[in-house]
């Protein structure tokens, strides 16, 4: 039965791909997936990208715009009727007028941008860019497709018994100890287990711990499935082999886990992920630095998981007829404006290092992988701070209301100069040790080795008719990598 289901699934994917291909022949289209774990800056990235393309931002490295070959870019109604539209205008207004960061992505959304350009040989062409914005947590769900409930349970439990997660999972673990997997199914016990498990996942995501690897993703952003059985299950202590007794708690959990895969993960894979051409994964490495070494290791594991998804997309589900088309993946360390530019290379080196093992596999599967440190909207300026003999490469900006540094809480109006700490030079030592540096998870806020404040969006003056240009760092390089070759 499962075999038949797989064949149907693949036939549908292939038909869709053929249809897309025929369409793309006359009207070239690039589907750009933008993802990243929560608070990585997806919304800001898309807003800045669309704004820069449509009003002609300062993008010297983005060749086709810099040389003037792009005549213009305009928004058009998006093709997928069942997907919410990315509220570009609202986000832009929030960013520029209210000087606040837009609210975070909780669901998938899409925007279509049509770029009119002239080829190098002189012919007039258009390129349709469909930007698909989806939470990175959904991406981390994809590996579940190849895992059984037993495997997933074992992995989740093992992960939750490491520090600092174990502290946060105490309540759930206590409840788990009262459950017997072989016992008769019990809705109330399952509800309690799911609630405690979700609470543990939510606690892990707090700024002080900044954990990244938290599947299943929909538990944290349930959307319209909230409360449904597909979202009401939790790991159990079950043996790695053997089948659940009929009517047991284990059987119910396993059924719901499979339902989660069918109702949530597979449709996402089919309707969205499998149709992407290019992918950018935004990573907020600085939040992990704020939190501590555990968060950094967790982020590394999550990135490996994400990269595995791209590999999974190639190997397991797909027949030779249909190939997932993602051929370029860009990993971007966002919020590079929170660092002096002399540290950007180190930030890139750290991200590259975290991706090292997994990236070679993705490259082997035919996708080009690159790493960049960027800031889609640059909120700071740079400065040298001199105190006595000491010179600190620092940044100037206005911290958000409620940010704390040196025991002082900022009101969102005061401008400060801050030196966030030196990023490490020797990565081997840095990644080997669990005690490499102190973060918020183990030390008081005034005693950490890194402190990256969150800044308000910059004040931009509207000097030109089309509105102000948003300052950025290397957004043009990201664009050149992602779509530069499709604008020949």
């Amino acid at each position: 039965m499962a075999k038949f289901q797989d064949i149907v699934e693949e036939a549908r994917l292939s038909a869709r791909a053929l249809l897309d291909y025929g369409d793309g022949f006359f009207n070239p289209t690039v589907r750009l997936g933008v993802t990243g774990l929560s608070r990585a800056g997806k919304t800001v990235f898309i807003t800045a990208l669309v704004h820069g393309l449509s009003r002609g931002g300062r993008f010297p490295v983005f060749e086709s715009l810099a040389t003037g070959r792009i005549g213009g870019a305009r928004l058009e109604p998006q093709p997928d009727d069942a997907v919410p539209r990315f509220a570009y205008e609202d986000h832009l207004r929030t960013l520029i007028e209210a000087r606040r960061w837009p609210n975070s992505t909780v669901d998938i959304s899409e925007l279509r941008l049509v770029i009119e350009y002239q080829r190098k040989n002189g012919a007039d062409r258009t390129l349709t860019l469909d930007i698909v914005d989806y939470p990175g947590e959904w991406l981390l769900d994809l590996p579940l497709l190849t895992k059984s409930y037993r495997q997933w349970s074992a992995e989740s439990l093992a992960l939750s018994r490491q520090q600092p997660r174990a502290r946060l999972a105490e309540e759930w673990h206590a409840h788990l100890a009262t459950l017997d997997a072989q016992a008769h199914e019990d809705e109330q016990a399952t509800l309690a287990a799911a609630r405690l498990f979700t609470g543990y996942l939510r606690a892990c995501r707090d700024e002080r711990f900044a954990m990244s690897l938290l599947p299943p993703g929909r538990f944290l952003m349930p959307g319209n499935l909230a409360g449904s059985p597909a979202l009401t299950f939790a790991p159990l202590e079950v043996p790695l082999d053997g089948a659940p007794p009929r009517g047991s708690l284990w059987a119910m959990m396993e059924r719901r886990y499979e339902a989660y895969k069918d109702a949530v993960v597979r449709p996402f894979f089919r309707h969205h992920f499998a149709r992407l051409d290019r992918q950018i994964v935004l990573v907020d490495a600085l939040a992990a630095f704020n939190a501590g070494p555990e968060a950094l290791h967790d982020l590394e594991a999550a990135l490996a998981g994400i990269l595995d998804c791209f590999r999974i997309g190639r190997g397991t589900f797909v027949s030779a007829l249909f190939r997932p088309r993602i051929d370029r993946i860009l990993f971007a360390a966002t919020k590079a404006d929170h660092l002096h530019h002399s540290s950007h290379d180190r930030l890139e080196a750290i991200l590259r290092r975290m991706l090292d093992r997994a990236a070679t596999r993705a490259e082997g599967a035919g996708a080009a992988v690159d790493v960049v440190a960027l800031a889609a909207v640059r909120a700071t300026r740079e400065a040298q701070v001199q105190r006595g003999r000491e010179r600190l490469p620092s940044i100037l900006g206005t911290p958000m209301q409620g940010e704390i540094a040196n025991g002082e809480t900022f009101d969102g109006e005061t401008e400060v100069a801050t030196f966030p700490g030196d990023l490490p030079d020797d990565l081997d030592e840095f990644f080997r040790s669990e005690r490499a540096f102190r973060g918020l998870s183990s030390a008081h806020a005034d005693n950490t080795d890194f402190r990256f404040l969150r800044f308000r969006p910059p004040r931009v003056e509207s000097v030109e008719a089309e509105g102000p240009a948003l300052p950025h760092i290397r957004l043009d390089r990201a664009l050149q990598f992602l779509i530069g070759d499709r604008l020949p």
Binding site: P60, H341, D345, A383, V385, S394, A405, V416, A417, H472
Partner: protein, 340 residues
């Protein structure tokens, strides 16, 4: 991370112990004051880049095809002629026949070697031009990986120049440090190009002086023209050798074409920067003597040609080092004349 000493720190700008000052402003401040110097935004600075020395080619090269085909025909024709000649020689006498055949073989061998060397020289020139383009792109994109590759290639080209041994060693040491892409290119330019630029400037100014002197004393215009032409060729060849290219005859022709094309593009720009000096110099000299004025003018033209040649031949664009200006060389030229 025990050796880390710099802790994260935050300073409020409205704190009385904090002073925000400009980079130029080095006034005395009270002791214990924290100085904050805002830096210019690198992204907003105008990028000091030149336009490409040559417009990019496009389309099919019909002219190349024509010359290649014609060359082939001529070669075939002359080959046929030689074969006929050798046959005739054999018919007349066996000794002459062998002599003719040997000469023909030697000529063929020499031709092959010449062609191979020309081809090698052309690829080398092309490699240098490509390096120049790549360096310019790397300066824009600030791509660390690309700039490391460029510096490696540059070191390979510079390997033939023993004067640069020390600079090469210094640069090789730096390539392993963590340096921004564009900064690495600038570093390479400072290390490797400084001695070469100095030598290039000397070459150009020597050639310009020689031309102006000969023009001033030569009896006939035709001699002037021939001499100026020969001196320009010699200058371009010397410059190419200096910067690592080893042009043969074909390579020299190609270089001259590029130099002249570059001169045509930048002519307007250069006219404005050097015009004052030129007019002044020419005017003064011409008051003394008409021939002297012509000499100075010819010398200046040669100097300008030399500068254009430097732009075309130099493997890196001018970013960290100042581009030699006509004004400097014109100064040399006039000073020398006064002494002479």
């Amino acid at each position: 991370m025990s050796e880390r000493t710099r802790r994260p720190q935050t300073f409020k700008l409205d704190d009385p112990h904090v002073a925000v000052i400009d980079a130029e402003d080095e006034g005395r401040l009270a002791r214990g004051t924290i100085r904050i110097t805002p830096e210019a935004d690198a992204a907003l600075l105008p990028v000091p880049l030149e336009e490409p020395a040559l417009p990019a080619r496009r389309g099919f090269r019909w002219a190349t095809l024509f010359w290649a085909a014609l060359g082939g025909l001529v070669l075939l024709g002359s080959g046929l002629g030689v074969v006929n000649l050798v046959e005739d020689l054999f018919a007349r006498s066996e000794g002459f026949g062998f002599l003719g055949a040997t000469l023909a073989l030697l000529a063929t061998l020499a031709l092959l070697v010449i062609v191979a060397r020309e081809a090698f020289a052309l690829t080398r020139l092309a490699a240098i031009e490509k390096l120049h383009r790549r360096a310019m792109e790397a300066l824009l994109s600030d791509d660390a990986k690309a700039s490391r590759a460029i510096v490696q290639d540059l070191l390979r080209i510079a390997h033939g120049n023993p004067q640069l041994a020390r600079a090469r060693a210094a640069l090789t040491g730096h390539t392993k440090d963590i340096i921004d892409g564009a900064d690495l290119i600038r570093l390479a330019e400072r290390e490797l190009m400084t001695p070469l630029d100095r030598e290039a400037r000397r070459l150009v100014s020597t050639a310009a002086q020689r031309v102006s002197l000969v023009t001033a004393v030569s009896p006939r215009a035709l001699v002037d023209v021939a001499f100026v032409f020969a001196a320009s060729l010699r200058l371009v060849r010397q410059l190419a050798r200096l910067y690592g290219g080893r042009p043969g005859a074909l390579g020299l022709i190609r270089l001259m074409r590029h130099v002249i094309a570059h001169l045509a593009i930048t002519g307007g720009m250069a006219a404005s920067d050097g015009l004052v000096q030129q007019v002044l110099g020419h005017g003064l000299a011409a008051k003394l003597s008409q021939r002297l004025g012509e000499g100075v003018l010819n010398g200046l033209l040669t100097a300008r040609l030399g500068l254009a040649a430097i732009d075309v031949i130099r493997p890196l664009p001018f970013t960290a080092l100042p581009r030699p200006a006509l004004a400097d060389l014109a100064g040399d030229l006039l000073r020398k004349r006064d002494e002479a």
